[in-house]
Symmetry: D2
Subunit: 282 residues, 4 copies
């Protein structure tokens, strides 16, 4: 018995679930978890199915090819337990990176960290947790951005990283690089988007006098603060909180929001729906 | 086209989803929402399927009878938009009752209030919202409990109430009556169960010095504070909150927790799983 | 013994607390609750003191006048238990209004509703709770806005209303009227400001694909969505929530955020600090 | 100018605030933050005052001695910025310990970790963050508990540790040791007390079918699950969460609840009030 995860999306029409479930049943597969969503506004259908299968998966793929042709599926099929290769990009603030490494180490996040890339040397970090993980110090200046991004791209391709995480990586990506990373790069933005886009969101929040602050994990697209949102969370703050207090409280929110988004991504629980996401939590 | 909601539970085995989805697909039905859960600890399988069907539902029921026999389904099938008949029991505190009536009036809760039963006359209430809804004042004493419960039972049966809501009904039910109501009666308990069972939970919470208080909506069983939990919520409190402050804050929590549980029940989103519930929110 | 609430703000300097506490102690007053805040960024000091006093309050005011001159206090002094006269403005959505009336009726909000003003006749409302409270139907058109606002102003002045609540009052106020109401008018905005200013915020939120929605209670200034924020709250939402679902979930948030802001205002717990507020919860 | 924090508690009577503020004002002190609480149920008064003072603190202490005699103050006076010496006790689960070390390292928790004591060797931990911090492996058996506790006590006294943190230290303390640590030892309990006292609370929570789980930080007293509560927090869970999922979600709650409690303790924001606490957050 092995475990698989199938995701698919297509234009909605009757019979999709029956087709997929029928294929699985015919091969003796057992569905262990299933989610679906019909977007009535766009007419798109989204599905995630986790299943056990004794038969070789090729048998399933073969028959399934007919359904793909019939329904026009966009689909993925992966073994459930396989760790994902992940590249982490970080600048000076390493609380998110440290949190991800710890969660990986104790088995909470099923991923293999293929490397850490930073525009700063590892000495500026507070953590020594990254022992053994390749650390790439790629300094960036206004002039060398393209070269620096090319170096990151080379690491992604050499390591076969499936996911890139911007764990408080404080550099603006070029449009080309953002496009290259599209759908496989998660950023943590330190505000409750769409409020306080841009720089220094905690200072903006303090200036405006809001009573809650938040963080947002989203996929990267060309517009750094406008990609499809995966998860968000907030906390109450008060008039007595200084910008520094907001930064401190924000660290906790950022860590858990980013870890949540990555966990969902790794388990194929996030499907893209235009500029939005469909998230199927357990 | 009409909309239906199917719920089922049975011992888990491969092929259930395929069987159900196949029946629907064969009749041209379109699944609009589906949830399932395998309880690995008990081996039980739970499913809720919302679907549109042009064919007469009898055609579905006919074929479905075979699956029921094969898989041993416990199942329900209801038209999606049909309002549920609900009887509300209340004592002196009417904030939950008023909230439910308002939500019903604006169409948020798809139910028809078949009547209100109280052990107090309607004059003690703060609300006049119940105009037009039959109000039954059934006083209760230590001696007449059985007779009083018989009167409530008569109202349930005369009105065909499908759900009974204990909206801060401050009377202990007899074991027989609790058994009679089993699985179709929702109580709001003014504590975060299993903490502070029993009387005066807000005073217990204050005495213990907790930093959060909560409320719990659950189905009634013989043990008033031990029935299957449907929904819970909490709020932060501080040392400065008096028991009266906790009561006040609690009212808000109780209202939203009870309304949430009822909304889920009405939409067939809550399935019983022994002493627990399976809840499939939208 | 009677209970009083003193609020004050001034430029910060040593000795303020000693001066105030000394005045009270000299008259045998007993401080029952005290809060203060030094805004390090602006150099302003804010204080709220609740106290019991056996001596006539005039004795306190007399001596206190010296401190006012010395420190340049902006201050208010009110009897603690006196209900505030409040005028409620509403359009078609009456869930906030109904909630406020209920909380007032059961004694949770210490206020006297001086009247309800709407641009719609009372028949469009779902509530009949307002029996006995004067209901003013002042229709508004593009042409008669100033006249309509003049009629509202007349009601405010005739009734001596100290606070005006925009309980989902869906009209843009003129700059003059907003100025007139400045600091004594609370609006509930159905978004988590500063996200989704302007019309139809729930639809904006759905369009953007956010994972949480919120509501904001704030004082009115010229810019309807930019006044000093008093309270905010949010709830998680999912991809499956339609704009209508967001509206429904939003009603719950709006009710509790607005009620909280009004409760704080009534108890003199909110002090203005430029474009922000200082809030001293119990 | 130096910064100080004064806490005091005493039986309530008029004039306390005036006395304290008067002493400070006489020496040119400037109050930067002040909180107070009158417990109407017990007649006790609690106060925390942060202030700047140019004069030597001895001048304050001298005069203040009269007030102490007059009012019967229980009091503490500490320099605001001085780090606290803290001893961390841990067993196998090191997520709380790692979190505390990281927060200390980045300056979020103003403490100096005097050592780590564990009943397991450091090899069982996932962290190497404790480099440089003395690590004491004191194995414990049913027979040697008293000796082991004596060894811990020796470390406390040698290092001058002011606070002991049980960061998921899974050993029952003897009554004598608990008594010895009373008021200066914070435990994180992995449940929302008073629900699920005792062993395996997440498994208990799963068994009961609750819809939220939580964690509780509290001072140690003789009864491990009954000490005065400092902070609590919770998260929603669902029927689909296994006990392992609850353990995983719980780790996040435990980390932030414990860090919050320690931060408050270090800043003298927690005062004991019998079996409860008074907490003055910023």
């Amino acid at each position: 018995m092995s475990d698989w995860i199938l995701t698919l999306s297509c234009d909605n029409r009757p019979g999709i679930v029956a087709a997929v479930a029928g294929r699985l049943a015919a091969l003796g597969g057992n569905i262990t978890e299933a989610h679906q969503f019909d977007d009535a506004m766009t007419g798109r259908f989204f599905m995630r199915v986790a299943f056990e299968l004794e038969a070789p998966v090729e048998a399933l793929e073969e028959g399934f090819a007919e359904d793909v042709a019939l329904f026009g599926f966009d689909w993925t099929l992966r073994p459930a337990g396989a760790p994902r290769r992940v590249l982490i990009l970080v600048s000076k603030f390493d609380h998110c990176m440290g949190d991800l490494l710890y969660r990986t180490r104790i088995g909470e996040l099923n991923m293999e960290v293929a490397g850490i890339v930073s525009n700063h040397p590892s000495e500026v970090l507070n953590l020594t947790l990254h022992n053994g993980i390749p650390y790439h110090h790629f300094p960036v200046t206004r002039e060398n951005r393209r070269e620096q991004e090319a170096r990151i791209k080379a690491v992604i391709e050499e390591t076969g990283a499936e996911l890139v995480v911007l764990a408080r990586y404080m550099q603006i990506l070029s449009d080309e690089f953002a496009e290259y990373l599209s759908g496989r790069c998660i950023n943590i933005h330190h505000s409750f988007l769409p409020g306080f886009k841009g720089a220094k969101p905690y200072h903006q929040a303090h200036e405006r006098g809001v009573k809650m602050i938040g963080a947002t994990a989203h996929y990267i697209t060309g517009d750094l603060d406008e990609g499809p949102i995966i998860s968000q969370d907030v906390e109450h703050v008060s008039h007595a909180d200084t910008p520094d207090d907001l930064v401190r409280k924000g660290r906790d929110i950022e860590r858990r929001v980013l870890a949540q988004a990555i966990a969902w991504h790794i388990e194929d629980r996030v499907l893209l729906n235009g500029s939005k996401t469909v998230v199927f939590p357990k």
